[in-house]
């Protein structure tokens, strides 16, 4: 007979308020196999853990059931407790009587009864547990950063500084990301490029960092410490090793049809182009859709003018396959498409712009050379209306928009308003807002300065309609404070559009098996305690891919992700999960069905001599590579003879739980 100990936690009043913990502990005492049962206020506290340790020693327990919070919270804690008292950690089972019992039920009797059933199920399971020992795997000392914006760059720099090799994969021809497009940054108003470009250069020159630009992730296999990534490097048609970035080709190119994506399509560029002056790598790229050579087979002016001989129309895309120990997702964001909001006339007038477009219109390196001009006629706007929360904070059942607050809009709008009022004191600036949200160091002070010192007209209320009337934009909104409808004839309307995850994030999430929320933001392993890790081991999150953030937050998260990565890469080896599949060679038919469903290729076959009651001789049997197996159990259900079973979640363990629950 086994000797099981049951430990019922009160979790203060979290459990004890709806579950009679003493009654549960008493009832469990009479369960077969239970030799010790007790309750305690906080089982996870040092005293609580000591209680478990002492009981393991005193009662020579060979199984422990802790009735407490979710195993996702403290299973690891109690396993360690068991280990330190000399009990195999996998002889511990948790009955989740908090999240799945006390917190959802209000009736004491009901909660207590359910807690008892859950406790019995855990006791039934633990009786079928077997001591398990984890295997170990080596760690590839190299990290992959997906995305070369400020988040990716910062993570890469921090990891590289710690002495590990880092590859940055960036889908566009240059690193820099969204921050490179910004003019000034809040709340200090320092120039974005001035603080970003040195970091870009540093990343480029760092001996441990390798930039793979104009490239996309094709496939990722493997697991924490041992990922293999296939990266497709698209053809630039410009030899990166030869191009000096002189820019002559970009000037000579006769095609002027390509929209300049860096300037949010506000102007055009050549078919061969360098995204912006400080691009890294400073190498041209050919856009085949607009290139005359690719369209007609003629032209070739760039090639003729390139003294370095870097233009190569024959260049092919390249597939790189590399091994990594850790992967950092830094895929960033884009503004949502404002054209869905036709009440703001975005598609009807060039003078209705998004904030990121305004950023380019105000940038010295932008299409207007930093002079704020109306896109329609190049005149100075005298009346400017900013509309906040365009597509943010919409309800789930609304026809369009996102449910979340995009977080950065209040501050950048204050910045824009302030900069405009400073540069063009004769221009009136009105900001329609729902709430002005300014939590952050020096943020509220910044916003107040915009209103008080720069005379920005903040109107509490939303714009209902923007209509084009001649050269003017008629803005009709409500002022909730004065309880009046406001009409403004504006020259320029700026929409603070919501931000959304980059569209490539979803497929990357699928490739990495990293979970995402319904908005396609990556989910963190724990919203408070593990904010920079994905629940998928070895995958880390940096920047807006996890949720809306401003620059300082992004940089902080990038550094945090880096330190997690460094922690992982510095390990000699990783202790694996011992809850892996295992084939009983006497029962295995060798039918290969399990191999087909294994997502990791962890199952191979070998001919082996077996001596069992049903079969003696050599037969083909499945062998699981325990280092590769992640313990999903797909194989176990495919196996008709139940030869394949999963340690820690064995057929018998689960069936005992079923029996106990249905008893």
């Amino acid at each position: 007979m086994q000797k099981i100990g049951v430990f019922v936690c009160w979790c203060g009043s979290n459990i004890a308020a709806t579950v009679d913990v003493k009654a549960v502990a008493n009832a469990m005492r009479s369960e077969p196999g239970v030799v010790y049962s007790t309750d305690y206020q906080y089982m996870c506290s040092e005293n609580g853990q000591n209680l478990i340790k002492d009981a393991i020693r005193d009662y020579k327990l060979d199984g422990v059931v802790v009735c407490s919070c979710s195993p996702r919270m403290h299973e690891a804690t109690f396993r360690k407790t068991a280990l330190s008292a000399g009990l195999n950690p996998y002889m511990v089972e948790i009955a989740n009587i908090r999240e799945q019992c006390s917190w959802i039920h209000k009736d004491m009797e009901e909660g207590t009864q359910k807690a008892m059933v859950l406790a019995r199920a855990a006791i039934a399971k633990v009786k079928k547990n077997a001591p398990l020992t984890a295997g170990t795997t080596p760690v590839t000392k190299r990290a992959l950063v997906i995305g070369g914006g400020i988040a990716g760059i910062q993570t890469a720099l921090d990891v590289a500084d710690a002495g590990y090799e880092v590859d940055i994969v960036e889908k566009s021809p240059t690193i820099g990301g969204r921050m490179a497009q910004l003019d000034k940054t809040f709340p200090t108003l320092d120039c974005s490029a001035c603080i970003l470009t040195p970091k870009m250069v540093e990343a480029n020159q760092h001996e441990n960092i390798h930039l793979i630009t104009y490239a996309e992730l094709e496939n990722v296999s493997g697991f924490v410490g041992n990922f293999t990534a296939r990266i497709k490097k698209k053809a630039r048609y410009v030899d990166e090793t030869k191009c000096t970035g002189c820019g002559i080709c970009t000037e000579k190119c006769p095609s002027r049809k390509g929209l300049n994506a860096f300037n949010m399509g506000l102007n055009t560029r050549g078919a061969v182009y360098i995204p912006f002056a400080q691009a890294i790598p400073n190498v041209a790229v050919i856009d085949t859709e607009n290139c005359l050579h690719f369209k007609t087979g003629k032209c070739g002016i760039c090639q003729k003018n390139c003294s370095a001989g870097a233009i190569n129309f024959e260049q092919k895309e390249e597939i790189l396959e590399r091994k990594y120990g850790a992967i950092i997702v830094a895929t960033g964001f884009r503004p949502i498409d404002a054209s869905a909001f036709d009440e703001y006339a975005y598609t009807q007038s060039k003078d209705v712009v998004t904030s990121l477009e305004l950023e380019r219109l105000m940038n010295a390196a932008g299409p207007t050379g930093g002079v704020l001009l109306r896109p329609s006629d190049g005149e100075h706007p005298k009346e400017i209306v900013f509309i906040q929360c365009v597509g943010s904070r919409c309800s789930k059942d609304a026809a369009k928009g996102k449910e979340y607050c995009s977080k950065i809009c209040c501050m950048y709008t204050a910045k824009h308003a302030m900069l405009i009022r400073e540069k063009y004191p004769d221009t009136n600036v009105h900001v329609f807002y729902i709430d002005v949200r300014t939590p952050g160091k020096n943020f509220d002070e910044f916003y107040r300065r915009a209103a008080e010192q720069y005379g920005v007209d903040y109107i509490k209320g939303m714009v209902g309609k923007v209509s084009v009337e001649g050269k003017k934009l008629h803005v009709q909104g409500s002022d909730l404070i004065s309880n009046e409808q406001v009409h403004i004839d504006a020259d320029l309307v700026v929409l603070a559009t919501a931000i959304e995850p980059d569209p490539t994030a979803r497929s990357i999430g699928t490739m990495l098996t990293a979970s995402m929320d319904t908005n396609d933001f990556f989910t963190e392993a724990h919203p408070k305690l593990r904010p920079v890790e994905s629940p998928t081991a070895g995958i880390f999150l940096s920047g807006v891919c996890q949720g809306p953030k401003d620059i300082p937050e992004t940089v902080a998260q990038a550094g945090a992700a880096a330190s997690k990565v460094i922690g992982l890469l510095s390990k000699k080896e990783l202790v694996g999960n011992p809850c892996v599949a295992h084939a009983n060679e006497l029962l295995c038919n060798g039918c290969s069905q399990c191999e087909k469903v294994c997502p990791y290729g962890a199952i191979t076959y070998e001919d082996k001599e077996v001596r069992g009651p049903e079969f003696r001789g050599t037969k083909r049997i499945a062998v699981v590579n325990e280092a590769i197996c992640q313990g999903c159990g797909a194989c176990t259900v495919t196996c008709p003879s139940t030869a394949m079973d999963l340690k820690g979640f064995s057929n018998n363990q689960i069936m005992e739980e079923v029996d106990a629950i249905c008893r």
Partner: protein, 128 residues
């Protein structure tokens, strides 16, 4: 008073959840009949939520609403103020008995400034 119209009744008629409102004022920003109204669309929502039904029933706003549904269309929280108004109006009609307009009354009330939409919606509002 037993025949007092409650907030719950209004909400049952129109199936609107005023709690979803984040008080952004876009409904009022968008309303073409704003200046005619004593209470404005964003106030309807607030007033219903706070049970000020009688005040609303006595207001002119409920007749000024064109039922153009612009507020409903543009509300980022899908609160549907126009439906609230429709419900309040209905409550008035129910209380007063069948004294609502017939289509024959409409020509006499027509004036040149009247938007066509108002004529169409008046049919919906007053015709049985």
């Amino acid at each position: 008073m037993s025949d007092k119209i409650t907030k719950e009744e209004i909400l049952r008629i129109c199936n609107v959840q005023p709690k979803k409102c984040m008080k952004c004022g876009k409904c009022s920003g968008t309303c073409p009949a704003y200046d005619e109204m004593d209470y404005h669309p964003h106030q309807f929502v607030y007033m219903v939520e706070h049970g000020q039904i009688e005040k609303l029933m006595a207001s002119q706003s409920i007749y000024k609403c064109l039922s153009c549904f612009a507020c409903l269309e543009r509300c980022p929280r899908n609160v549907e103020p126009a439906k609230l108004i429709e419900a309040v109006r209905l409550a008035v009609i129910r209380q007063q008995g069948k004294n609502h307009m017939t289509e024959n009354d409409v020509p006499a009330l027509l004036d040149e400034e009247l938007p066509q939409q108002a004529i169409v919606s008046s049919m919906r509002k007053y015709k049985k």
